[in-house]
C-alpha cells in the first residue's frame, strides 16, 4: 500500500515537470545543473529523469542562452526559398555560428526544423515571435529592433 502511494506521488510530481522546466527556462534563460537538481528534489524525481526530459526537448537548454534566441528554419520549404542566404547573413551580422551565443549575451543563434510558416518562407523565430518572407534587409531591421 505504501509503495502504491509513493508511485502515485511520483506521477503527480512528474505531471508538473514539463511546465516547471518551461517556467525555469523562461525565468533564468537556461536550465543549470543546480536548477535541475532543485527541481528534481522538489518533485521527488531522480536527477537523471529530470535531466533526461530537459535534454529531450529542443526548446530547453542546459547552457546559458542569449536574451534573444534566433531560430532559423532549415527545413525543405525554407531551403527552397534560399534560407542559406539568411543563415549566412545572420552569421556575418552577429559574428557567431549556429549553436553559439554572442559574447555580450544578447543573441543566441540556432537552426531549427519546420516551424509551420512555409507559406512565408524563408522564416525564423526570435523567442516566441515568427518572422516571415525574410531577406537580408528585413533581418537587419529586425535585429536592430532587438534591444
Amino acid at each position: 500500500m505504501r509503495k502504491k502511494e509513493k508511485t502515485l506521488d511520483q506521477s503527480k510530481g512528474q505531471r508538473d515537470l514539463l511546465v516547471i522546466l518551461k517556467e525555469a527556462e523562461d525565468k533564468f534563460g537556461y536550465l543549470s545543473g543546480k536548477c535541475l537538481t532543485e527541481i528534481a528534489e522538489s518533485l521527488g524525481l531522480s536527477i537523471s529523469e529530470v535531466y533526461g526530459v530537459a535534454t529531450f526537448y529542443s526548446f530547453f537548454s542546459t547552457k546559458p542562452q542569449g536574451k534573444h534566441i534566433i531560430r532559423i528554419c532549415k527545413s525543405l520549404p525554407c531551403f527552397l526559398k534560399s534560407n542559406q542566404t539568411i543563415i549566412e547573413f545572420v552569421k556575418k551580422e552577429l559574428g557567431i555560428r549556429p549553436g553559439e551565443t554572442t559574447p555580450d549575451g544578447k543573441f543566441s543563434f540556432q537552426l531549427t526544423n519546420c516551424i509551420g510558416a512555409c507559406d512565408g518562407a524563408p522564416a525564423m523565430m526570435i523567442n516566441n515571435d515568427v518572422f516571415t518572407d525574410l531577406n537580408p534587409g528585413k533581418i537587419s531591421k529586425i535585429l536592430r529592433s532587438c534591444k
Binding site: Q14, Y57, L76, D119, N128
Partner: protein, 406 residues
Amino acid sequence: MPEKQIVLRNCGIIDPKRIATYLERDGFKALKKAKDEITPDGVIAEIKASGLRGRGGAGFPCGLKWELARKSPGDRKYVICNADEGEVGTFKDRYILERDPFTLVEAMAIAGYAIGSNKGYIYLRGEYHYLIDLLTNAINQTKELGFLQHFDIDIYEGAGAYVCGEESALMDSIEGKRGEVRYRPPFPPTKGLWEEPTIINNVETLMNIPQIILNGAQWFSQLGTERSKGTKVFSVAGDVKRPGVYELVLGSHLRELVEGLALAERIKMVQIGGATGRVIPYEMIDTPLAFETILGAGAITVFGEDRDIIDTIYRTMEFLAEESCGKCTPCREGTEVMLEILGRFSRGEGAEKDIKILQELSSVMMLASLCGLGQAAPNPVMDSLQYFRSAYNNRMRKEIKAGVMR
C-alpha cells in the same frame, strides 16, 4: 473536383477573437443539437456513418475511435486535440487555429459528450506559442456563454519535438515525460493518457464534426471517394507562385492543387505528406489525392525542374534522424545509417551495394519500428529510388561502380 469549404468555412469570415461572430455562423448549434436531440451513441453512429477518417496522416476512422473509447470502462476519459503540427511543410492547422478557434472548441465539447469525458487537452506545439492567447480567449468566451459546463479544456504546450505529434509520444509529453513512443497495444481508446481511455484527434478532423452533426452523415459522405469522404485541407509550399492553404474535395487531382491553385510551373517532383510522406515525379501529377492513393497530413512541397533529388532526400533524412525519439533501434539506427549512405551519394561517392543496403534497411524499418516515424522514414528514399534511379546512378563513384571495394 471542386474546392469546397467545410473545415475552412469560417476562416476569414468570423473574427477569431469574438464569439458573437461565430454564433452568427451557426456556432454551437451542433453542440446544442447533439446534447438536446441525440444520445452519445447516436453522435458516434452519425460520425461513423459519415465515413470521417483522421486527418493527421494515419486515416483511422474517427467514429470507430470514439466508439472504442466510449465502450472502454473508466470514470475518467480524455479528449486530446493534436495541434502539434510538426510535419515538414504543414501549416494548415496553424492557419485554422488562427482564424477559427471556436469550431475546434465546439468539436471537442461534442467529442467529450460522445465518449463520456469531461476533460480535454489541446496539445499545441511550442513553436505556436503565439496562438495561446487566442485559444485561451476562445475557451474563456465559450465558458462565459455556458457551453462548457460539463467539459473543461486545457492547453498544453509542447517544447520542440516533432515526434510528439505521434499520439503515444504526445501523451507521454502531457504526462511530463520525454516524448517517447509507447508499445501498442493497448491503444489510447483503451489505455491512453494516465492509462485512462483517451481519444486523440487532429485539429482538422475535429473541425469537421460540427458540420457533420448539423447537416448529417449523408450530406458529408456524398463528398469524396469510396473510402475517403469529405474534404482535405492542404498546405502548399516550395516552388509555387501562390503558397498557401487550400481545401479540396477528397479525390481531387494533385494537378488541380499545385498547378491550378498554387500556380506551380516546370515541376520536377512533389513531396506529399512531408518528411515521412511520398515523393512522386511530375508524370504522376494526375494522381487523385485520397486515402486510397496518397494523402498524409496534407503537406505538399513542390520542387522545380532544377532541384537536386539526392539533396532533397538527404535533407529529409537529416530531419528524421534528428527527430527520431530514439526508443526503438530500427528507427534510431536506421535513420542514421540511411543519412550516412545518402551523404555518400550527395558527395558523389555512392556505390551499388549502398542501394541494396538502403532497400534492406527500409524493409526492416517499415516492419519493426514502433511508430509511424520509423515505419514511414524510408518512404522518400524508396520512392526516389523507384522514380529517380538515374540520380543515384550519377552519384556513384566510378571505380566502385566497376565493383572495386574501398
